[in-house]
Symmetry: C4
Subunit: 284 residues, 4 copies
Amino acid sequence: MYKIKKANLLNTKAKLILLRHSKVFQIITTLSIIIYSLIIGIETHLKDGIWLYFFNTFDQLINFYFVLEISLKLYTEKNKINFFKDRWNTFDFIVVLLSLIPLSIFETIAVMRILRIFRILRLISVNGEIKKIILALQKSIPSIANIVILMFIVFYIYAILGVQFFSDLKSGLWDNFSIAMLTLFRIFTFEDWTDVMYEAMEIYPLAWIYFVSFIIINAFVIFNLFVAVIIDKISEFKDKNLEFSLKENDNHISMIIKELSQTNKEIKKLQDRIEECLEKKEKK
Amino acid sequence: MYKIKKANLLNTKAKLILLRHSKVFQIITTLSIIIYSLIIGIETHLKDGIWLYFFNTFDQLINFYFVLEISLKLYTEKNKINFFKDRWNTFDFIVVLLSLIPLSIFETIAVMRILRIFRILRLISVNGEIKKIILALQKSIPSIANIVILMFIVFYIYAILGVQFFSDLKSGLWDNFSIAMLTLFRIFTFEDWTDVMYEAMEIYPLAWIYFVSFIIINAFVIFNLFVAVIIDKISEFKDKNLEFSLKENDNHISMIIKELSQTNKEIKKLQDRIEECLEKKEKK
Amino acid sequence: MYKIKKANLLNTKAKLILLRHSKVFQIITTLSIIIYSLIIGIETHLKDGIWLYFFNTFDQLINFYFVLEISLKLYTEKNKINFFKDRWNTFDFIVVLLSLIPLSIFETIAVMRILRIFRILRLISVNGEIKKIILALQKSIPSIANIVILMFIVFYIYAILGVQFFSDLKSGLWDNFSIAMLTLFRIFTFEDWTDVMYEAMEIYPLAWIYFVSFIIINAFVIFNLFVAVIIDKISEFKDKNLEFSLKENDNHISMIIKELSQTNKEIKKLQDRIEECLEKKEKK
Amino acid sequence: MYKIKKANLLNTKAKLILLRHSKVFQIITTLSIIIYSLIIGIETHLKDGIWLYFFNTFDQLINFYFVLEISLKLYTEKNKINFFKDRWNTFDFIVVLLSLIPLSIFETIAVMRILRIFRILRLISVNGEIKKIILALQKSIPSIANIVILMFIVFYIYAILGVQFFSDLKSGLWDNFSIAMLTLFRIFTFEDWTDVMYEAMEIYPLAWIYFVSFIIINAFVIFNLFVAVIIDKISEFKDKNLEFSLKENDNHISMIIKELSQTNKEIKKLQDRIEECLEKKEKK
């Protein structure tokens, strides 16, 4: 009896594995996340009691489906460690795990809200193409990291200078280092930066040097960053292509050279042979 | 008598086909659309009764010409289905058809106005160069589609977060999901985004994290989108070029190798021949 | 005595030609334009009577120098028509000519002011490097002309739609076609575009479609224009380079093939020769 | 005894050289600058008496460390001139030297503040990667210098025109040349440029030509600058790559040609040899 049970179990597992890798399963998961995202969007429009009850029920249903889905994925995976080696699986697992915690234990409602949002992020983990884009973004980080550091140093120095000179301004935009950094970020986006400048120029008429230089330095850095990154990526790509092309070419050419030297050797042999037999003749 | 009539008809059709493909016909059509566009522009300046009467008459004249033009095109086309296979022809046909509907049947005047505008869009359908640009734009859609989806997910999540946290703000910029999406689009264009932020920071002092992170994420995505698309297009183009160049080179090199192996064979033959006759000699 | 005079004259002309092509002459001309530009800048700070007198005198001096300079250039040029074939010379000539017209004949002072500014533009005509940039800009016009036309059509249609729907708004930003075009240009630069939108949304709650679609269409067109132009220019450049590289390679390879076929012929000859003499032997 | 001393000294110097090139030394220096930067940032938040005392002490400590560090670097350098040939060393030296000047001799506190900021700039001089970026930025200056000059000429002309036409406006944004330049820079960043335009249009209804043309000219110049610089850099890079690839290829091909001509010579020799012995035979 135990054997039959086990066979049944194996049979069930095989079916589940088929289900887990079926397209239908993937589509249902994607759809359920999309519907869930839509519901969260609609929720912000309708805040009545009846709808709230419906939304809560739907929330629990989705939660239940997500638990089922991740259990299925985990169960059908042969090597449990491989499952967690994929960062996106780990991400899904943590999101589902967090949603199982009873929400009442959080003091503020804000944490609960953010947790719900994280489930929408699963839209990224179920879409292969977007996963690739995220990967491409990650790869581009090192090539711009140093430029971001340089920009940060410029921001840092200007923030300290800003606090030292403009901290007495009424607008309070330069009260301390953190606020000054925010004000500089605002100037960086060209957002009403002249309002900030004109206020400062009332006390220090030369304050425009501070603002104009900040904008020019950052624009210059960004412009060059742009050109540098593009050139760098193109050259990287081209190097590979050229290397391959050169290698191919080299292979062919070395083949030709080999063949030619072979030809020369054969001719040499021929020559020697003729010479040899001619010598014999003469001796005769 | 019937035959003569038919011959006349055929003759007329031949003339019409000539007319339809003549440059004069195309120029007249283009000019009539341009003049029509200008009149619609001038109309917004002059709103007196007399002018209105003139504009109405002109409108009917242009309508009449457009009907004639599309009829001519349709009549001179051998295969009627081919005519509608060209999307631009279908577009022209629908625009002209819609303009024949008596305007009084529309409840609001807005629909009529929009219909009239569509005729200006025919400027695109008569200009070959701009048609090409539209085609190029269409082709570029797939390469940026996924990045647009990713940006939409980011917008979606931030919109819901925005409603959940800032819906009580007086400005009403976060009242519901749709309005929050519009507010985020505004922030995306850097349009007075600090006004929105400063209002939110009065209640949540850490609200700047929300706004600054949104701007940085989108700027980062857009920057990388830009670089990726450029690199992608260049590599696409280069691959074709390199492939062609490599193929050409390969052809030449394989020709050399062939010739060389031929050389070697000939030398071998020569060698064998000499060897053979030398052996004969020795035997003698 | 007439001969000596003519010789003197010739001698003077030779000296003038030397002067005209000397570096000193070019530097003096450049410096005089720079100083002139500086004076015009300083003039806006100092508006007292004494300074005005000085500036007027200086103006006449510069005028006098410019007349001398252009006369020298024209006099030393062998073929007077060649002088005017160079657009920059024509430009200089017209600027100097216009400055000789007594200013009192202009009714408004505005024309006079603009004429004076044109002399600063001569800074471009004396700088070879900047001339090259202007030439490069001119060359880039055809590659973006059609895209500008497409953008203009989009602006045109949106302007008419704007007037038809929003002409009753209090701000008067949609009063007629010209003002609507200016308002759209403003929206195009993201300049306080939400102020315009929020006003329109009070009457038409769906007005955001108009504004957001306008921004997205134009941003999309510009983005693709950018990528297209860059790719186009790179491909143009690369084609030339590749063509050259392929041609070089082809020349070398055809040389090898030629040499090889020569080798094969020689071997053939050798073979034939041996065959021939072997036959002779056998006959013997 | 003198010898032992000298040996000790040499021993000490060797140890110091080791220390100076050790990774620990570099990390300590980097950390001390980072901590110093953080302290200066925190200082803007805490302005109490106790903290001020702590900050002053820390300032002197850092000063002391920087003097020690630069002395060590200078002492361990064999050739003192080489030390100053490295611009970054000179920069560090001047920064440290300036910080030794007693601050009380400066009339205003502003100079002192700026001097302290300069020490943060040493973060650049201790980071190899950022040094490279700065170098890359320096290299890109010549390729955009002329375009900046052209833009400056455009700014200059528009500034003078602006003062001549709009100097009477109440906002005072066109009072004199310098203020007009600042106003134009503001318009260049699209910052509330319509406010400036609408004010001017109240007096000159055609003033929009001035503003719109300024924006279009600068946008056009910048756009083309962008494309030109990118194309220029790519072509520069590609030329090198192609040159190298062509050279490699040429080397291989000339090797083949050499080998082939060698083959042909050998065959010739063979032919001659055969011919020669055949002649001998016939003579016999």
